[in-house]
């Protein structure tokens, strides 16, 4: 079996350079590649284009890269909850491309699936469709949307094996599987790295073919953005 294991985040991020385009999995702070983000901060690479559904909060997730002004452009569907983001965006330091969430997910999948473009009804008649081709199918208008072209994809999984197979947990799955498909180099960090044969091949969410490097992550904080609970009775 092909072995994809690298020692740590440092080794996993070899080849990362200024000006590159990355995909980063996660929805809010759920399922984000914490170790890879920390390493990107350590590396200090700048002028990055980051494709990620959200932009973290001020002191966690992609917010850490924003604080160090490492990001030139964000491609996201929702970027609230982040004061530094707001400041950079309003001052024009940060470019922001806002994309409907379903279109973002499908564009990530298309990237990995060799589909250069597809039609979606989302955003037709809005400023999102400005300058884009539109077309009627079955009496309904649609917008032509294109694949991305990221150099790296950073994803976080629950379990992974040495062959790069991944299993996600709960809603921490979100954008991770499609982004794993899309990276020219896909780096997966996992909470638990196991030997081949330990994962049921029928239950694998992301087949190892999509993953170039995998490592055992450490020190996961898994911060909760909105802790909503029902009181104990």
């Amino acid at each position: 079996m092909i072995n994809k294991v690298v020692k740590n985040a440092q080794e996993a991020l070899q080849g990362v350079e200024n000006g590159m385009t990355f995909m980063l999995g996660g929805f809010g702070l759920c399922g984000i590649p914490e170790n890879c983000i920390t390493e990107l901060v350590n590396l200090g690479v700048t002028d990055l284009t980051c494709i990620s559904n959200n932009a973290g909060v001020d002191d966690f997730g992609l917010g850490l890269l924003l604080q160090k002004r490492q990001i030139k452009k964000m491609i996201s569907s929702y970027v609230g909850e982040n004061d530094e983001f707001e400041r950079q965006m309003l001052s024009g330091e940060l470019e922001v491309d806002l994309i409907p969430q379903g279109t973002l997910a499908e564009r990530c999948r298309a990237t990995g699936a060799g589909i250069p473009a597809f039609y979606t009804p989302a955003g037709y008649g809005t400023e999102v469709a400005e300058g884009k081709e539109t077309r009627e199918f079955n009496g309904k208008m649609h917008v032509l949307e294109h694949a991305f072209n990221p150099q790296f994809a950073f994803v976080k999984a629950w379990k992974g094996d040495t062959a790069g197979n991944l299993i996600f947990k709960g809603t921490a799955r979100n954008f991770n599987p499609m982004m794993a498909m899309a990276g020219k180099i896909t780096v997966a960090e996992v909470e638990e790295l196991v030997e081949v044969g330990e994962l049921d091949p029928n239950q694998i969410h992301t087949p190892g073919i999509f993953v170039q490097r995998i490592f055992q992550g450490k020190g996961y904080e898994k911060r909760i953005e909105q802790r909503t609970v029902t009181p104990k009775i």
Binding site: F27, L29, C30, S77, G102, P121, V128
Partner: protein
């Protein structure tokens, strides 16, 4: 008496039908889950990858890996399922979700909706709203009839950047239930004690009042 937010949610819940999959937006729409009518089964879809969303977890059992689209910790019911974002929006785009309930800043008499951007102010993004309104067969907008200055939010034409065009068919506000068809708001029900005239005054868009308008039953 104009409805409270809870009551708007309560009235919208009456629109739920047995066996419907429902996506609830953030704010008033989220409250709809508290008023599911007896005797029907619906399932809530959260676009971050969850079907069969249950109530908030008992204190101490919350899981960072189980949140809803509003980033709140939630639970999953027996029979629920988890999936990735592409599959989630396949459900939405493919019209497998029967009802979308969401809030709006403005709705127009032709069914246009604006709820994501105010020029000159911080833009947070549309999230999944554009996919939802472009695809849902049934969209109910939950909103206040007027803004804080008392100006109508039910307009001839939206002034804000659109989220979707000609897609809204029903609006439930603090004052009324309205159907959008043939380029006009058709008044279906009044909030208890609210007159047709009050509703008329609070509605900038064309309002059609046909016959006696009943009060909502809550």
């Amino acid at each position: 008496m104009a409805l409270t937010k809870q009551q708007i949610a309560q009235r919208i819940a009456q629109e739920l039908q047995d066996k419907w999959y429902v996506n609830l937006g953030i704010g008033i729409p989220t409250l709809v889950a508290n008023y599911i009518p007896e005797g029907i089964e619906v399932e809530f879809q959260s676009e971050n990858g969850l079907l069969g969303m249950g109530p908030f977890p008992i204190e101490g059992t919350e899981d960072a890996d189980l949140i809803n689209a509003g980033k709140q910790t939630v639970t999953i019911l027996d029979g629920g399922s988890l999936f990735d974002s592409a599959t989630s929006f396949a459900m939405i785009r493919g019209q497998h979700v029967q009802l979308t309930v969401l809030g709006a800043m403005e709705v127009a008499e032709n069914g246009d909706i604006a709820n994501w951007k105010i020029p000159g102010r911080m833009v947070k993004g549309m999230g999944g709203a554009m996919d939802l309104v472009a695809s849902a067969e049934n969209i109910i907008v939950a909103m206040m009839h007027t803004n804080k200055k008392g100006e109508s939010k039910l307009l001839k034409q939206c002034s804000l950047p659109l989220t979707g065009v000609g897609c809204v068919k029903k609006v439930v506000t603090n004052l009324a239930v309205l159907e959008i068809k043939d380029g006009a708001f058709h008044l279906l029900e009044r909030a208890p004690g609210v007159s047709v005239e009050e509703i008329q005054n609070a509605t900038e868009g064309t309002l059609i009042v046909n016959g006696e308008i009943p009060e909502m039953k809550l």
